[in-house]
């Protein structure tokens, strides 16, 4: 194919316009100037192409060359993804550092995946097998936690002519497939896929199991399903990143893709340093062994920030296609939207609300639609899930912000962070009065199965207590607490216990950072039981003051620090509490 070579006529920040680009295609990747900065075509008018450049454009000017690669923005998929940290356009930051030192300079070209590393491929398919896109050819034990399945690329179909186990680089041929025209196609472990296009699957299914996160307010009150979508909007400092990190640590997914989109450098460093030290509660293996990081921090080029969430989600889809449960955290989607806005502004497009382009809601919806529970391609009908959890950072915490609004239209779970709770150091500062999960009903059977009780009614009882508390608080504020009936006072006491002894969860406490669902069930049951017992005792004529000042309350406050292997202690506490109430 003839190479398309144009010439820069305009440079305005990350936007470059080139003429002489006849034949160029929308969303193709181009190289800008002799430095070969990477850019992507985002608008075509006649022979002019507008290009968003993924690197700093200082020092670039009219007259310099632009060449098209004739390829859309792709990611590389294959063994080597896990434990990597990539920038927004999948350059591995460790390799970039080897080349350019501590600072990221321009025009660095490095492959996303290591070309020289050998992987032990174990074939599971055999010659003569009829295969199509998504069929599993074999696997590589990529890390102690990840069995990386090597799949037939989506567009390939035919009969396996040859396949071999052994030690290969990702570019070496591991199998030969004869297609229907008799053509022989060489398959390696490396696939490429355009980031802006969702990877195909057979069909979508409704999510039906819990993504357990070990965070009580989430799992118990506002759960997200595997394959679902959730959003955490909140003002600065309210706890979005801590929640995202907690989920990345403790969610029971097989693969975590964490996208730092326009946020702090140190937060990525934190993950890089901490995850190798933390152990997966199930396997005891370091959490890093299932994690992929995409980091395009706030000071890195803004256009690459826009691309970063697509890079992340495409990697996630690839693992989903293997039949795995994948969770993606995007912190923060507002920075992505701002990148869109900046480019849109420079293109002089007609602005919508707050200067955001009118297509913001569509783009946000497209992104979240890439989540889901699916039957994967291939002939074994395996299921994979992809859960997306996006942080949103509205100006001044104002929820009328267009990004919040566009997001809430599409996500099914809303964790609303509240700066008032954060000031009181009630963490996670998820406001239980405004948050919701639309998965409660679809998870009903699942919950009943794992708890053995009618879990939702228990959960709803606790919610009702909290809601009633909010009402009573109003009264207390006006006329004082003494005017309340003993029943109401007991309710307030119980609400306080739910808040402080259950919802409050310190991420940095070595024990409390994670609570299994079993522990959550025991704790909540204990707190609700005490309330019931107290009400009964009150009926019997027990003195309200004494019920309020149960000496066991101190122990209940510390119950959340019970280690996972000593949960029977909570049962013992329950007996003790019963005894104390019964005595009154």
């Amino acid at each position: 194919m003839e190479q398309i070579k144009g010439e820069i006529i305009r440079v305005s920040g990350p936007l470059v316009v080139a003429k002489g680009m006849n034949g160029a295609k929308m969303y193709d990747v181009v190289h800008v100037s002799a430095m070969e900065l990477v850019g992507e075509i985002i608008e075509l008018r006649g022979d002019r192409a507008s290009i968003q450049v993924y690197e700093d454009t200082a020092g670039i000017g009219p007259g310099e060359p632009v060449t098209s690669t004739n390829q859309p923005l792709n990611v590389e998929l294959g063994p080597g993804l896990i434990e990597s940290i990539f920038d927004g356009i999948q350059r591995p930051l460790d390799k970039v550092m080897e080349k350019t030192g501590n600072l990221i300079t321009r025009g660095v070209h490095v492959n996303a995946l290591d070309r020289s590393k050998k992987w032990d491929f174990k074939a599971s398919a055999k010659p003569g097998d009829k295969v199509a896109g998504g069929a599993i050819l074999g696997s590589v034990k990529e890390t102690t936690l990840v069995e990386h399945r090597i799949m037939v690329p989506p567009d390939v179909e035919g009969v396996i002519a040859e396949i071999k186990s052994g030690s290969f680089t990702i570019e070496e041929t591991i199998a030969r497939i004869k297609d229907k025209d008799g053509q022989s196609i060489e398959v390696s472990m490396l696939q490429k896929w355009p980031v802006r296009k969702g990877r195909p699957y057979q069909k979508r299914l409704a999510p039906d199991s819990l993504l357990s996160t070990g965070q009580r307010v989430i799992d118990t009150f506002f759960p997200v399903a595997k394959g679902g979508t959730a959003s955490i909007p909140g003002p600065f400092g309210s706890g979005k990143t801590v929640v995202q990190h907690q989920l990345a640590k403790w969610a029971d997914a097989e693969i975590i893709v964490y996208i730092g989109c326009g946020e702090r450098g140190n937060e990525m460093t934190d993950v890089l340093l901490e995850f190798p030290e933390l152990k997966d509660p199930k396997s005891g293996e370091p959490l890093m062994k299932r994690t992929v990081l995409v980091a395009n921090t706030s000071n890195m080029p803004v256009a690459a920030r826009e691309a970063s969430i697509y890079t992340g989600i495409t990697i996630a889809e690839y693992f989903r296609d293997m039949g795995l449960n994948v969770a993606v955290m995007a912190d923060s989607t507002s920075r992505w939207a701002e990148a869109l806005r900046e480019i849109s502004g420079r293109l002089e497009e007609m602005p919508g609300e707050e200067g955001y382009p009118a297509y913001l809601p569509t783009k946000a919806a497209d992104f979240y639609e890439r989540a889901g529970r699916v039957v994967c391609l291939g002939n074994d009908n395996r299921e994979g899930t992809l859960t997306i959890i996006g942080a949103v950072s509205p100006p001044g915490g104002d929820l009328s912000d267009p990004v919040v609004q566009a997001t809430l239209k599409v996500v099914k779970v809303y964790w609303g962070l509240d700066s008032k709770l954060a000031y009181r150091r009630h963490f996670p500062a998820i406001n239980w009065l405004i948050s919701y999960s639309l998965y409660l009903e679809s998870l009903r059977d699942y919950f009943n199965k794992i708890t053995g009780v009618d879990w939702l009614s228990l959960r709803n009882k606790a919610m009702a207590i909290l809601e009633k508390e909010a009402e009573l608080e109003e009264i207390v504020r006006l006329v004082g607490r003494d005017t309340l009936s003993p029943r109401d006072q007991l309710l307030l006491e119980s609400a306080k216990s739910i808040r402080e002894d259950f919802l409050h969860q310190i991420a940095f406490d070595p024990v409390d950072t994670y609570a299994s669902f079993k522990k959550q069930q025991k704790l909540l049951t204990l707190i609700l039981n005490i309330y019931e017992w107290n009400l009964d005792a009150l009926e019997r004529g027990a003195e309200p003051e004494k019920l309020m000042a149960l000496s066991i309350r101190d122990e209940i406050a510390k119950a959340k620090y019970t280690p996972e292997n000593q949960l029977e202690k909570i049962d013992a506490l329950s007996l003790k509490a019963r005894e104390e109430v019964d005595k009154l």
Binding site: N102, R264, N266, M268, T297, N299
Partner: protein, 462 residues
């Protein structure tokens, strides 16, 4: 090297100058405008479109004419010449010496925009810096490599606090090379002088580098000032292994200069007229703090900003808070009560605190202690509010104790002298003595072992 001189200036709008019939101009290139008076102004290229270059003049455009003025483009971006001789020197907001000292003979020239630190190369900040302020060290701890802004407002003593931090800040048990880099943007002569004379008094001036853009200096110049300061800081920290504290004041003036340029370009404004890219622009400044693996030095940033109308949701504090690692909030109501430093600890936050305190860093009880003090003070503040509505008599006995705690906390813990440099032990001790006024049962956030060890006798007796 000679550069082509263009006489083809066709438009002057606000701080912007349009030069036509240009050739080979680069984005972000440094420009020099010659006025009919023979005076020179520096500028930078904001956009090049075919044969037109849009230049932002740092010195403003007063005196620039369409005919009779000329522009030259210097083939490079704005640079700062760096060497260890920077220490002890004072420059203007564009990096030109204003202290009668000799010209700097640069070790090298650095582009003031810098390059982003590779997140992979960063080292996580975790070394406790003792500032000598209880409200900071105890509850909103600063660590080396952090960016922790002061959110203040007109008429509040942020400068005194910043100067005191610069005076007292140290890392326990270490003897390292310190430096202070000071970037002033649009502050008054008096304020600037306050810092300079404070630095002189303490001898800190010897290891300080000052960049001064004052209220009467050209506003647009302020856009370059923090970048110059940080370029100097990076050189000192990562090439000369120094522990650098960067104070930038007042970021609000910086943002206003950006807004002025944006308005002149007729860009679609974001909130309150500030440009949509303000977040990105500020992060290019604030993210230049930190530590780098394998390097001894560090950059700790304390930007100061005054919140217009004391409003924390104003875009400047808001976007700053979204980038920095916490914030120290100066409160007008504490200031009115006569408390110095009037730091409101509840909305203040140091996000890196938890990595900087505890065993082997400060003391094992510190995290529990801090969490308890926050909780008790928050409860005391609520009691204060309740008491103003319902009267103190309506409070339960425990609430009344908390009310008392809150008052004493402000008076004895937050309040301290301008030359009082409290050790962390002292800070912890004051906190414990206040906690002792509360019933032990109320101290749920502290482990028994610490209560047994540190809680003064008074409440142990209960």
């Amino acid at each position: 090297m000679t550069f082509k001189k263009y006489l083809s200036i066709t438009e002057v709008v606000g701080p912007l100058i349009l030069v036509e019939n240009t050739e080979g101009i680069k984005y972000e290139e440094l420009a020099e405008i010659e006025l009919p008076s023979g005076e020179h102004q520096l500028g930078r290229v904001l956009e090049v479109n075919q044969d037109k270059a849009l230049v932002q003049s740092f010195g403003g455009t007063s005196g620039v004419s369409v005919k009779g003025s000329s522009a030259r483009f210097l083939g490079r971006g704005i640079e700062l010449g760096v060497s260890s001789d920077l220490l002890g020197r004072i420059f203007d907001g564009l990096g030109r010496p204003i202290d009668d000292g000799p010209a700097i003979i640069p070790d090298k020239m650095l582009n003031i925009n810098g390059n982003p630190i590779n997140p992979y190369a960063r080292n996580y900040p975790s070394e406790f810096i003792q500032t000598g302020f209880s409200a900071i060290d105890g509850l909103n701890t600063l660590v080396r490599g952090q960016k922790l802004p002061i959110f203040s407002a007109a008429g509040l003593p942020h400068s005194r606090i910043a100067a005191q931090i610069a005076r007292q800040a140290r890392v326990l048990g270490s003897q390292e090379k310190f430096a202070v880099v000071f970037g002033a943007m649009g502050i008054t002569f008096e304020e600037a002088n306050f810092f300079i004379s404070d630095f002189q008094k303490t001898g800190a001036i010897e290891r300080a580098v000052l960049f001064m853009n004052l209220a009467n200096d050209p506003a647009i110049e302020r856009i370059a000032t923090p970048r110059l300061a940080l370029t100097a800081a990076e050189y000192l920290a990562f090439e000369l292994d120094m522990q650098v504290l960067v104070i930038l004041t007042d970021m609000t003036n910086y943002c206003e200069a950006l807004r002025e340029v944006s308005a002149a370009r007729k860009e679609i404004p974001g909130r309150r007229g500030y440009p949509g890219y303000l977040y990105t622009d500020l992060s290019m400044i604030y993210e230049r703090a930190g530590r780098i693996r394998g390097k001894k030095g560090s950059i700790t940033q304390i930007p100061i900003l005054t919140m217009p109308e004391d409003d924390k949701t104003h875009p400047i504090p808001d976007l700053t808070g979204y980038i920095t690692e916490g914030q120290i909030i100066i409160s007008r109501s504490l200031h009115r009560k006569g408390i110095y430093p009037p730091i409101d600890v509840l909305p203040s936050l140091s996000r890196l605190r938890d990595k900087g305190i505890g065993e082997e860093r400060t003391r094992a009880d510190h995290p529990n202690w801090a969490s308890q003090i926050f909780a008790s003070y928050a409860r005391g503040k609520e009691a204060q509010e309740l008491a103003t509505i319902l009267g103190e008599a309506a409070l339960s006995p425990v609430d009344r104790q908390h009310l008392l705690f809150a008052n004493r906390f402000e008076q004895e813990f937050v309040q301290q002298g301008e030359y009082e440099d409290r050790s962390i032990e002292k800070t912890l001790e004051i906190g414990w003595s206040l906690l002792a006024e509360l019933p032990r049962l109320e101290l749920k956030r502290i482990k028994d072992e610490y209560l047994d060890k540190y809680l003064p006798e008074k409440s142990k007796a209960e």
